[in-house]
């Protein structure tokens, strides 16, 4: 059984007990525990179920690589699935639930899969579930889907907050073990600005557990001293609980800081996403121990040797009382010694090497630990926990020589450097034969903007596993990184590490070396996804030879640990199956993040109301307080209608149209773009931008203009006012202001850079209000201050002046067909002017109207709307706007494009009005059908609806549409099938439905 022991426990505080629950059961731990160490202290060996076979799973590791111990943590809006127990710091009141079982962890129905596992080899689902065909969709997939998945689904909106943090640094050091600390120190001593991120709450990494001395003192003292030195340096920033998550192009790196996961009651954001720009990045990310592939290596109680040592030394927890250790290298002897020192019985060290190890083996031997060389584990016995092992010769098929009863097994298959962050941005690897691992290839680093390598690996992450080499490598890395960006390294003394001599490791990819098929079928590579040695061999046998094929066919390395445990062992098995050297098989691609990071952190603060910036006109609050039914338009919101109590939205729209046509309406037109185009060549420039001739416009006058892309399509429209000889004010659509401003700048800067024109976007500098309707003039005359009579201010002209003491610019333009003035005032005066218009207009029946009333009124007049009549495929010629296309100009943007054969095709659909025979409203986007079907069996069509409304003015449905030869077919009736089986019949008419002669606006 696993239990707390009386000694050891460098990270725990025995005076501070903590209560937590696991699957509803109250358990006790200590301050400093991880959830994993606390569970082990409570003899909770079984912590979860695997993904495919639902096999019992125990804690395998002690850090970020843990594949098994995944928990649902917290409750309600703080619930989170798939949290690794090994990296979860225990806190009082923590609630954890194990995953992927039903009805309980102890008794899981899904375990039937394990019994049938022989029928579920890698990729079995590609070969079956195909008959009868309907069963896949109706039976098989729903069942598979129900069984799949891992963590529970969060039910509530996230109760926590998140934030971004921006950091610029000369050097980013990822990893706060001895390598990271020494590299940081070497770099910081040159004066470079250094940021160090450590994913755990502790500095020093594995070194304090692994032992050794630095300059004669214990390594732990070196760690403490170095941290103190770094903390005292102004150019150094140190952060724990902060993981280097990803390395991206041009020195961009992501840090993931967990601020309150260990103490949920702390105020402030839960996670912080560090968006870092570093000139150089040092990856001091250490190494991960590999498992050994023997049968039953997944039974709870089988653990990585280094992890078992961590639990003993760091947390004072014995994962077992009688332990067997299997290894192919010297490091596992550290575990044997640590266990023995803690009073735990070490029954055997089975060293696959015939000649055994070096100093550490001798030391273990002297302590009385039995060491069997050339031996291996044939299989582990037990179901929900280890009960014993069969021992065999490593160089054999697994015939048992001896049975040993035990309650835990430690295994060590050697160490693999953590090369993820080196690799994210294209760093390449080389295979190290001696250590049997991939490490960074110094000649092929990830390269930055200058083409130089910008990542420097240090210590174990660089394949240096001995303390002395780690320190000197890290020191060199720190200096190299600083030097590369212009700092001068000092010739300081490199700390001297010392530790025992180690004998060479021996690669062991399968234990025993020639294990039988039956054993290989139980030797796990990927614990979470249940991928076994036999699965990889099957993939190779079936031709899935590339490492990517094997990964995808078997799901090796695709679990939440992303192959940290499985990948090297798996590809070694694959290489063996293919008779190819390991480096030739290669690795799969390392992708960020290093370990999963919360979506909340990625999204940052932007959620809910502040999901995106909100642009507000000066009258926004008034709209909000007066029933505005909001419509998002870009980042603006515009009132669709102002709904009064008791009204539907439709009622409100009808009321607003009628009132504007009969009395007086107000429209907040402030969102329409306003671009000032100024300079000697402004006229010439606008002649190129608009299809119309703008240079001939007289100051004081307005002209409606069309803008096309160079590809010929209509992109925007609006009224242009000439302010003076070299100044124009161009109105754009609401969505178009920024886009058209950029469009103008692009042409000015990149094509006509010698033209003297300046463009300013003054959209937000002015509030603009349309005063519309038969009573419009009466209201302005009541305000007084300027002459707004027909003669003084005729249609399509503008004047500056004053109204009721407000400085105004008044444009006599109309998008409704009514007598209409658009009045611009400085933005800061907008609300006051709006309020005044409402107050003084009351006697004339004033009412604001929203965008839908605007749309209906323009449609009644046959005015086009960008985005309705146009959709990016429409040219002005399609819309009967020839009058707005100057024939006198040699050139304008889009002119050449409009000469292409498809653009001049007489069969292009043209704009017409459409009137249903029964007065009903045509459905949005309906198509007019023609006879027959096309070459692909699709119904032929001859037109479509572009805008359709119920017109309260006419009391019937009106629509505009694009129709084949439309203007030549007035009076013809077309059929528009609806999507609900109903067909609409509509007559082709003029698109101008109301006041065809413009008598209402020209008064």
């Amino acid at each position: 059984m696993s239990a707390r022991i009386a000694t050891q426990g460098r990270l725990i505080d025995r005076s501070k007990p903590i209560t937590f629950t696991f699957n509803g059961k109250r358990l006790h731990g200590l301050q400093g525990d991880t959830l994993a160490s606390a569970l082990l202290a409570n003899d909770q060996m079984l912590v979860g179920r695997s993904y495919k076979y639902h096999r019992p799973r125990g804690i395998l590791a002690s850090g970020a690589e843990e594949p098994n111990a995944l928990m649902g943590l917290g409750e309600g809006g703080k619930f989170e699935p798939n949290q690794r127990a090994t990296t979860t710091e225990l806190y009082d009141g923590l609630t954890a639930r194990s995953q992927n079982h039903w009805p309980s962890l102890e008794f899981d129905v899904g375990q039937v899969n394990a019994a049938l596992s022989r029928f579920f080899p890698a990729g079995f689902y590609y070969k079956t579930f195909m008959w009868p065909k309907s069963f896949w969709e109706k039976v098989y997939e729903p069942v598979i889907r129900q069984a799949a998945g891992l963590g529970a689904v969060p039910k509530e909106r996230d109760a926590d907050t998140y934030e971004y943090f921006y950091a610029f640094t000369d050097i980013l050091v990822i990893g706060g073990g001895v390598a990271g600390l020494q590299a940081a120190k070497a770099a910081a001593q040159t004066g470079a600005k250094v940021l160090v991120l450590e994913q755990t709450p502790h500095w020093g990494g594995r070194a304090p557990v692994d032992g050794g001395t630095v300059d004669g003192e214990p390594v732990e003292a070196f760690v403490e001293r170095t941290v103190a030195e770094l903390s005292a340096m102004e150019n150094v920033t140190l952060r724990t609980r902060a993981m280097g998550a990803g390395v991206y192009d041009h020195g961009y790196a992501l840090g993931y800081e967990r601020l309150t996961d260990h103490a949920p009651l702390l105020a402030g954001p839960r996670h912080r996403l560090w968006r870092i720009r570093a000139k150089r990045i040092i990856t001091a990310t250490g190494a991960i121990e590999r498992t050994l592939s023997f049968a039953g290596n997944d039974i709870p109680g089988v653990m990585l040797a280094s992890a078992m040592r961590d639990y003993v030394v760091n947390y004072g927890v014995a994962p077992g009382q009688r332990v067997v250790i299997a290894t192919n290298n010297d490091d596992a002897y550290r575990t044997a010694i640590a266990l023995k020192q803690a009073g735990i019985e070490v029954l055997r060290v089975l060293d696959a090497r015939n000649s055994g190890g070096g100093d550490l083996m001798r030391q273990a031997h002297e302590m009385g630990i039995r060491i069997d060389c050339g031996r291996a584990i044939a299989r582990v016995k037990g179901a929900k926990r280890v009960t014993g092992v069969s021992v065999c010769a490593h160089d054999g098929e697994g015939g048992a020589l001896e049975e040993v009863a035990c309650d835990a097994v430690a295994m060590s298959g050697g160490w693999s450097p953590v090369v993820h962050l080196w690799s994210h941005c294209g760093g390449k690897l080389i295979w190290d034969e001696t250590q049997a691992h991939f490490r960074p290839d110094p000649n092929r680093p990830p390269t930055g903007a200058d083409g130089e390598g910008f990542v420097v690996p240090a210590g174990a992450a660089n394949g240096e596993l001995m303390l002395d080499a780690v320190l000197s490598d890290a020191d060199a890395a720190g200096k190299l990184a600083a030097k590369a960006i212009g700092f001068k390294p000092k010739r300081g003394k490199v700390p001297q590490g010392a530790g025992p001599e180690e004998a060479p490791m021996m690669p062991v990819w399968l234990m025993p070396a020639r294990a039988t098929t039956a054993l290989r079928n139980k030797a796990f590579l990927d614990y979470q996804n249940d991928v076994k040695v036999s699965d990889v061999q099957l993939a190779a046998q079936e031709g899935y030879e590339s490492v990517e094929h094997t990964k995808r066919y078997t799901t090796l390395g695709m679990a939440t640990d992303q192959g940290k445990i499985a990948n090297i062992n798996g590809l070694a098995i694959l290489a063996d199956s293919l008779n190819a050297p390991i480096p030739q098989v290669g690795t799969t691609t390392f992708r960020p993040p290093y370990t999963p990071i919360s979506m909340g952190a990625i999204a940052g603060e932007a959620r809910g109301e502040i999901f995106q910036p909100l642009r507000r006109t000066p009258m926004h609050d008034w709209h909000d307080e007066n029933g505005a039914d909001w419509e998002p338009v870009g980042h603006w919101r515009r009132p669709y209608a102002y709904v009064r109590p008791g009204e539907s939205v439709h009622d409100a729209v009808m009321r607003e149209v009628k009132n504007t046509r009969e009395k007086l309406g107000l429209l907040d037109a402030s969102t329409l773009g306003k671009l000032i185009v100024k300079g000697r060549d402004a006229g010439k420039f606008l002649d190129m931008l608009y299809t119309n001739m703008m240079s001939t416009l007289k100051p004081g006058k307005c002209r409606y203009g069309l803008m096309c892309s160079e590809n010929g399509f209509l992109i925007d429209d609006g009224v242009v006012a000439r302010i003076d000889e070299d100044t124009f004010l161009c109105h754009t659509t609401t969505g178009g202001a920024d886009r058209i401003h950029a469009h103008m700048e692009e042409w000015l800067q990149c094509e006509w850079w010698d033209w003297q024109v300046y463009v300013a976007n003054v959209t937000e500098q002015f509030a603009q209000i349309a005063v519309v309707g038969p009573n419009a003039r009466k209201l302005l005359e009541k305000l007084g201050g300027m002459d707004v009579s027909k003669d003084a201010l005729p249609f399509m002209e503008w004047r500056d002046g004053q109204l009721a003491g407000f400085d105004v610019r008044v444009y006599r333009i109309s998008f409704s067909g009514e007598l209409s003035y658009e009045i611009a005032v400085p933005a800061c005066r907008g609300r006051a002017f709006w309020d005044l218009l409402l107050k003084e207009g009351a006697e004339f029946g004033v009412m604001p109207y929203g965008t839908e009333a605007l749309h209906i009124m323009r449609a009644e007049k046959g005015f086009i709307m960008i985005g309705d009549e146009t959709d990016g495929t429409v040219i002005p010629q399609d819309l009967g706007l020839h009058w707005a296309i100057s024939k006198k100009k040699d050139d304008y943007l889009g002119k050449r494009a409009q000469q292409r054969s498809h653009m001049t095709d007489p069969n292009r659909w043209k704009l017409v009005g459409l009137e249903t025979l029964d007065g009903s409203v045509l459905p949005d986007g309906a198509y007019a059908v023609a006879e027959g079907v096309n070459e692909n069996g699709q119904r032929n069509v001859q037109g479509r609806v572009t805008s359709t409304y119920f017109s309260p003015t006419l009391g019937r449905g009106i629509a505009m549409g694009l129709v084949l030869h439309g203007p030549d077919r007035m009076g013809e009736v077309l059929e528009f099938p609806g999507t609900d089986g109903k067909a609409f019949k509509a007559k082709i008419v003029s698109p101008v439905f109301y006041d065809k002669d413009g008598e209402k606006q020209n008064v």
Binding site: Y51, N82, M130, V153, R275, Q541, S598, M599, I602
Partner: protein, 414 residues
Amino acid sequence: MKRYSAFAIAREALRYHTGWERAWTSPEPKRHYDVIIIGAGGHGLATAYYLGKNYGITNVAVLEKGWLGGGNTGRNTTIIRSNYLQDPSAAIYEKARALYEDLSQDLNYNLMFSPRGVMMLAQTHHEVRGYKRTAHANALQGVKTEWISPQRVKELVPIINIDGPRYPVLGALWQERGGTARHDAVAWGYARACSRMGMHIIQKCEVTGIRREGGKVAGVDTTKGPIDCNKLGLVVAGHSGVLAQMAGFRLPVESVALQALVSEPIKPCMDVVVMANTVHGYMSQSDKGEMVIGGGADGFNNYTQRGSFHHIEETVRALIETFPIISRLKMLRQWGGIVDMTGDRSPILSKTPVENIFINCGWGTGGFKSIPGSGWGFAQLMATGDSPLCRAFSLDRFKEGRFIDESVAAGVAH
């Protein structure tokens, strides 16, 4: 080659699966083939398959620089739908979708086509009108879609937030028979079927040159030596420009990185595919339980298969707005694929200026869903010189101004 079945699995289980054959062979190239397809991704393999199946042309080699299915076929978000607006797009995507329905049985390889439904949310009035238009167009194109209410959206996707606050859901375009499939399996299934017909799939064989004689194609030079052919199909997605250059013509194509990500797996909570174009993001849940999320494309030419992280941030932000509970999931993995974008963002399936060289490229973000239809049409084009499915997607459309613009309705096409 032995058929796959539950019975075969049971039989093999008794002998620890030692009897399974290779899914496809790995032959050395011959000196000459009737047809060479460059690119053993989904589109290339599907083309070869239908050349054999529909036209009896089996003396075919599919050349692959890396490993088959290793490009965008294995790097996408596996969505299948055909609710396109324009006739030519709807035709080819619906052909593909319809073929997907029976493809597992046809290939004897379970692709796990899962018609769980695809929903495109409308969150502005403009989008409402656009999708209603698409629904009308689809009805006439023989594509079964419908416009559904916000309440129905919520019923189909309980985890969705339809109430805003910034972009309330106003309805959705719903394609009940859209869905997903296991992307790798599509390449593997076609490869196995091609191999079964005696075609040669030659991996790790990079084309280094294209030989022409008298304006016609003569063959290719490869890292495994020269190979002659009568007809040549270029089906290499992001690398089309490079191959076109070898053949002596230019393409209206640019290669950019498109990104995607997955979350850690959770229990099933979303059966349908949801696309939210106003906020720019789309999401589905895989059979494994991962939330599969599609992100944006960089606006600059890029061959690195890495994208810029700010796109991931924008996408995740948008999806948390749409599905608040995912805030407490974690991103497991992000990646990029290189997609080729044409001038109108629609694909090119066309003859080329060089006789007997055909090109299939420019699928942009829509490649995976179209694989069977693209293969079907492109095989017809290569075998007979014309295909109704491909006609509108010819190279000369750009000169004539005859674009196929799908952004009209959806804003973006995924």
